[in-house]
Subunit: 172 residues, 4 copies
Amino acid sequence: MDLFAGHGYSSTKLDDIATHEGITKGTIYLYFESKEKLFQAVIQRIIVKEIEKGKKLAVEHEGSQRDLLRKLIHYWWSMVGETRLAGIPKLMTSEASNFPELSSFFVDNVTCRARAIFVEIIEEGITNGEFRKLDANYVARLVLAPLVFAVIWEKSLSPYDKEKNHMIFISI
Amino acid sequence: MDLFAGHGYSSTKLDDIATHEGITKGTIYLYFESKEKLFQAVIQRIIVKEIEKGKKLAVEHEGSQRDLLRKLIHYWWSMVGETRLAGIPKLMTSEASNFPELSSFFVDNVTCRARAIFVEIIEEGITNGEFRKLDANYVARLVLAPLVFAVIWEKSLSPYDKEKNHMIFISI
Amino acid sequence: MDLFAGHGYSSTKLDDIATHEGITKGTIYLYFESKEKLFQAVIQRIIVKEIEKGKKLAVEHEGSQRDLLRKLIHYWWSMVGETRLAGIPKLMTSEASNFPELSSFFVDNVTCRARAIFVEIIEEGITNGEFRKLDANYVARLVLAPLVFAVIWEKSLSPYDKEKNHMIFISI
Amino acid sequence: MDLFAGHGYSSTKLDDIATHEGITKGTIYLYFESKEKLFQAVIQRIIVKEIEKGKKLAVEHEGSQRDLLRKLIHYWWSMVGETRLAGIPKLMTSEASNFPELSSFFVDNVTCRARAIFVEIIEEGITNGEFRKLDANYVARLVLAPLVFAVIWEKSLSPYDKEKNHMIFISI
DNA sequence: TATGAATGAGGGTTCATTCAT
DNA sequence: TATGAATGAACCCTCATTCAT
C-alpha cells in the first residue's frame, strides 16, 4: 500500500512491489490473479481490519456528545491520519473511476459507515439539547471534510506548500 | 482536461485524447512535444486564464467582512465548483508526485494565492471586531477545505455514494 | 547531399532537408516522389555531372604514363577528395544494400569507369615498358583503394583519430 | 552483427533481430537496456575478445621484417577479412557519427593499436636496412588501407560489381 | 508553385502476465 | 512454494507522405 499510495496505481510496477517485498514478480501471481485484484485486496484487507477496531471504540462512551465528538475526531486522526492508512483516501479518490466495484465497496463500507457514526452522535446531541438543531448529515460532512482533506493534501500537494500551518484540527 | 480528470494521467491514452478531439495522435505532437507537456499545458492554460479574472473581483467590496466572506465562498463555487475548473483539484492531488514542477507552480500560484485572499478578509474582520480572534490561517484553511474537498469528492467517489446530500455550503 | 553524407540516409529527415533548403516538406514532393527517389537523384545528378568533366581531362595527356598516373591521382583528389563529392563514397558504401538499383548504377557508372581509366593507363605503361608486367586490374585497385579509403575514413572515423597523419598520397 | 552490418543501424529493426535470434522483441530488453546499448555491445564484445588474441600472435617472429610484414598481412586477413569480424569496418564507418563514444573507443583500441604494430615492424625494417627510409606511419596506413577497404567494399558495393577480381593482396 | 496542417503506419520501449523449472 | 526467463500487447512518439488551400 505504501507503494500504491506513493506513486498511484499505474505508476506502481509489479517489479517494484516484488522487490519491496523481497520476492519476485512471479510469486505475486501465486497469491493474486492480477494487479487489479492485488490492488483491491490491498485496500480491502487494510480497511476491513481497521473498521472492526473502529466500531468497538465508538460505542463505549460516557459523558457529553460534545466530548465524544471531540474524542472521535482525535481518534480518527490517530487511527487514519497518522498511520499508513493515511494514503488510502488519496489513493481512492485518484483511482475511483478506474475501479468502480472497489469504489462502491469503499464508499459503502468506509465512508458511509464512518459518517453514520458521526451523524448518530450529532443527532443524539441535538436531541439532548447539547447542539442546536441542524441537519446532522451536513454537519457530519462538514466535520469530516477537513479531516479527510488534510490527509489527501498531506499526501499530494502539501510537500510543495511552503506555508506549513496544517493540522488545523488539533486545536479543536 | 475531462479525460485526465476522469481517468488519471497514465490511464488517459493519447489515442483517447485524439479521438475525443476528432483528430489523430500524430496531430497532438504538432502542438505539444510530449504527453507530459500536454498535461502541463492543460492545467496551466486554464489556471492562468482564470486567475486573472479572480483577482479583479476580489477587491471591490463594500459592507461587512462577514458578507464578503460569504460572497467569496459563493463566488469560489460559481467560479470553480460549477465550471470546468472543477476537475483540477482532483487532477492535481492525484498526479502531484508525478509532476513536481507543476505541483510547485500550482501551489504557489493557485492554492496560496487563494488562501491569502481569505486570510486577509478574516484578519480585517478580526481587526474591526466582526470576528473573534483566531489564527486567520487556520480559519482560511477550514473554510476552504470543505469547498475543495467537495469538488474532489464530486469528481471521484461521489458517483458511488448513494447518500446524495452534498453541496453542504449552499446553506451557508 | 551534405545532409545525407553527414548523418546517413535514415538519420536525415525530410524536415531537415526542407529547412536546409529554406522550403517546406511539402515542396519536396513537387519535385521528387519519395525520399528514396530524392536520394537517388541527389547521388545521380552530382555523379553524372562530374563524370563528364572527368572523362575530358583524362584523355589529353602527353608525356609518360607514370606522369599521367601521378597527375590523375592528384586530379582524383582535387575533384573528389576535396569537394563535396567526398561524402559520396561513404554514403554509398553505407547504404548500398538498402538501394540495390542505385548501387548497381553507381558501380557501373562510377567505380568501374574510373577504374577502367586507370587500367588503361597502366596497361599502356606496361606495353611501352615503363611499368613492369603486373595484372593491371589489381594495380588499379591498389592505387584507388587508398584514395577512396582516405575519403571514407575522413568522413567517418577520422574525427575520432588523434594521430592526424592522413593525406598519405600527397607525397606520391 | 550480420544484420547491423547488412542494413545499417536504423534500418535494422529489433523485430528482425529478435526473429533472427529466435526470440521476441521484449526479451532483448532483459539483456540490453536499449537498441543503442545493444549495438555497442555487439561491437565491443567481438572486438575485445579478438584483440586479446591478436596481441599474442604479433610478437613471436623470427626472420626478416619483410617476412613478418607479409605474414601479418595474411594474418590480418585470416583473422578479420574472412571471419565474422569482416562486417565491423563497414559498420563502424557507416555509423561513426551516430555513435561518438563508440567511435572513439574503436579508433583508440582497434585502429590505432593495429597500426602501431605495423609501424613498429616498418621502423625496425628501416633501422636494419631492409626497407628504404620512409615515414613509417604513412607506409602503415598505405598497407592497411587496401585491406580495410577490401573488407568494406566486400560488405557493401562489391555485390553489385561485375568485375570480380578482388582479393588483391593475396598475391603480395 | 508553395504551404503547413494532418495523417497513420511503424518504430523502440514497457510491463503485466505466463510457464517451465 | 518460488523463480526468472520469456512473452506480446499496448503504449508513446517519429516521420514520410498527403492534400486542401
